[in-house]
Amino acid sequence: MARNIQSLERAAAMLRLLAGGERRLGLSDIASALGLAKGTAHGILRTLQQEGFVEQDAASGRYQLGAELLRLGNSYLDVHELRARALVWTDDLARSSGESVYLGVLHQQGVLIVHHVFRPDDSRQVLEVGAMQPLHSSALGKVLAAYDPVAHSEALECERESFTAHTVTAPEAFEEILDLTRARGYAADTEETWEGIASVAAPIHDRRRMPVGAVGITGAVERVCPSGEMRPELIAAVRDCARAVSRDLGASRF
């Protein structure tokens, strides 16, 4: 019989330790619990951290299980995990942009809204979690179609309904929009889905650079695109938010 690989055994023991009751542990706690030298323990932890199985808390320096383990267990990112991680950033996006914020994931042939933050004025608004948006015309949908190959084929195969005079339905023109989306890192929707409404969205990636969702703002076209141009500070705010959520999911800085 082949011998077991010691460093893998140690790594497995560390993961079990971190999965136990006490969720965050310091290097010396881990080393002493497993009877390892600190240097050895640190080497293994660093490798696990690079693979995303372990995360280090910046403030305390302690270690905890990483988001990557979730993906392994599920093979997809739980949308409720996505919402929990996005909560702070999407609140801030609504606050800074003054518009409502939506977070969407691919679901069947459309975008499923998994999180919605109200526009920060005192108007009556209804929570739209669970609603669907079209893949081919909404900003969230275009982002998903541009970055996620599955969403891309769904968008090409489905019937691209013309909602307004601005909706792009022809396959070539649609592909051009997706190329532009990839080149710019965001997608826009200026009255292509709803009359009078514009939105802008950017992709959320996990640490494997897999697109797991899209986040964007939606508002009256007069506010979001005065004089026909999307306000650059809104685009920047949306992209900042998408990057912040991606970082929280373990994606590297980009």
């Binding site: 403030a59 739980d78 919402r83 609140d91 933050v117 500070e233």
Partner: protein, 512 residues
């Protein structure tokens, strides 16, 4: 864009919490500019005992304040005031000449004073001081913890009676150090923190000499009781004196009261509920201290400067977020806390199952220590998804029980519930809560309502904000859930829940 919206001046808030100390800098709109945070050690000398090293805490507070100021890229000229919110009831005694704590701080969760509290009840029992203090004799509160220290640290009582020792909850410790420590530091506390000591008379807002004597705490160690929003002193000396010297220290509020303030619950009948490991719900009862006959606590909500104090009723639920953690860590039914929603959403209802997590007895409004947890209504039909649903429903029903008790005591119907805390990211839970309460549930845009409340109070004290109306204008609704359940279903489900609660009682036989 973020930067354009966060031009100065600013207010800073320190949150000296149970597991960490944080400092957040806010702008005039109540938006977060920067955050710094540091955890401190939890010391468990014996089962049931929990202590903190107060020197470590003060060092951490200095670091996070400096850190938050540095991250915001601002100087003392941009900061108008600094406010404090803190873990409540955690008790410290220190030497006023050296600034050294005489012992670790005894944390609110610590149960070492259980026996002492029983003894203090004498022939009257738990409610011996309730009329004056609004509190039952329980190990949480600070007064008996101080008595324990005086009895158990050698020579301490003599030093205390000689006037060398100061008592304080964590607000007092932080303010004393901020304002100069041994060099003239202000020894004060605010009405909300004082209301958790069991030593303050709720109606006069003064230390109750008779109760202090009964509990065995000498009056000369007690801090001066001040309002929650006024200038106590200025940042003086030490590491922070260099960067923030002269900044007014202008608020103190216990953490749950700070959340009430941060949620701008300024009107009678307005309530907030904070969903974390456990859940704390407070309802503003205006200028009336309402005696509870339903197992709630009567406490001070806040007092702004020389205005009249505002009272609150408080109900806490011991096990909410920790039940989800239990499902993850002990049962292994989910891999992350957020997954409870995924699992629970995979079924339409609870399948007839009800989960009453009376892990260490039933708290408000029952107060039955002989109760233990129960999952009732099991049949072959029930799956783990139904149990997950029952877990979320348990939090919602327990909230309903507290709101019912509040309505009974105060006569005020809950118009809407403002929520905050980590569990508010759980959409199904928030909808269920609205369904069970038959009232709208509203989540504000700033999740950090505790720090925000301390910042608001400090800003009011120095005129950074002119009135509570100013603060209300800052409040932003991030989401709102409205009831979708029909009345018959609600009534039937509530009845089933109450039956399940009934079945937890009397499990332990050696207690009454």
């Amino acid at each position: 864009m973020t930067d354009a919206h966060t031009a100065g001046p600013f207010v800073a808030a320190i949150d000296q919490g149970t597991t960490s100390s944080r400092c957040i800098v806010f702008d005039r709109d109540g938006r977060i500019v920067s955050v710094d945070q540091k955890e401190h050690e939890q010391i468990f000398p014996k089962p049931g005992w929990v202590e903190h090293n107060a020197t470590e805490i003060w060092t951490n507070v200095e670091e996070v304040v400096a850190g938050a100021i540095a991250k915001a890229g601002i100087t003392r000229d941009d900061i108008k005031a600094i406010g404090i919110t803190n873990q409540r009831e955690t008790t410290l005694l220190w030497d006023k000449n050296t600034g050294e704590p005489v012992h670790n701080a005894i944390v609110w969760q610590d149960t070492r004073t259980d026996a002492l509290c029983k003894e203090l009840g004498r022939n009257v029992g738990q409610d011996r001081f309730r009329r004056e203090t609004g509190l039952p004799l329980a190990s949480y509160f600070a007064g008996p913890k101080a008595r324990w220290l005086l009895d158990n640290v050698e020579g301490l009582r003599e030093r205390a009676e000689a006037g060398d020792i100061l008592f304080g909850t964590m607000d007092s410790w932080v303010i004393w150090n901020l304002t100069g420590g041994v060099n003239g530091g202000r020894h004060v506390t605010d009405v909300t923190n004082a209301s958790r000591t069991m030593l303050m008379n709720l109606h006069t807002m003064e230390w109750d000499e008779r109760i202090a004597e009964s509990i065995g705490v000498p009056m000369q160690i007690l801090p001066e009781i001040r309002s929650s929003a006024e200038v106590y002193g200025e940042v003086t000396g030490g590491k922070l004196g260099d960067i923030l010297g002269g900044i007014p220290v202008a608020s103190a509020l216990g953490d749950q009261q700070a959340a009430l303030f941060g949620q701008t619950c300024f009107e009678e009948g307005e309530a907030k509920s904070t969903y974390g490991t456990g859940t704390f719900m407070l309802m503003n009862t205006g200028e009336k201290a309402i005696n509870s006959y339903s197992g709630l606590l009567t406490t001070v909500g806040y007092q702004i400067g020389d205005k009249k104090p505002v009272y609150a009723l408080e109900g806490s639920i011991a096990v909410t977020g920790s039940l989800v953690q239990w499902m993850r860590d002990q049962m292994g039914l989910i891999n992350s806390a957020a997954e409870i929603e995924t699992l629970a959403s995979s079924v339409e209802d609870n399948g007839g199952a009800y989960f009453v997590p009376a892990f260490s007895g039933l708290f408000a409004p029952y107060w039955r220590s002989d109760a233990r947890g129960v999952i009732a209504g099991l049949t072959r039909y029930v799956t783990k998804a139904h149990i997950a649903r029952a877990v979320l429903e348990a939090t919602a029903w327990q909230t309903r029980e507290i709101t019912d008790a509040m309505t009974k005591d105060s006569g005020v119907e809950l118009a809407a519930l403002k929520v905050d805390g980590g569990m508010t990211s759980n959409n199904l839970l928030m909808q269920t809560l609205s369904d069970f309460l038959d009232a709208p549930v509203v989540r504000p845009m700033v999740a950090e309502t505790t720090c925000l409340g301390a910042a608001y109070a400090a800003g009011l004290a120095v005129g950074f904000w002119s009135s509570t109306d100013d603060l209300r204008a800052n409040w932003r609704r991030a989401a709102e859930w409205t009831p979708r359940m029909d009345a018959d279903t609600r009534a039937r489900e509530y009845k089933n829940w109450l039956k399940a609660v009934e079945r937890t009682m009397g499990w332990l036989e050696d207690e009454s």
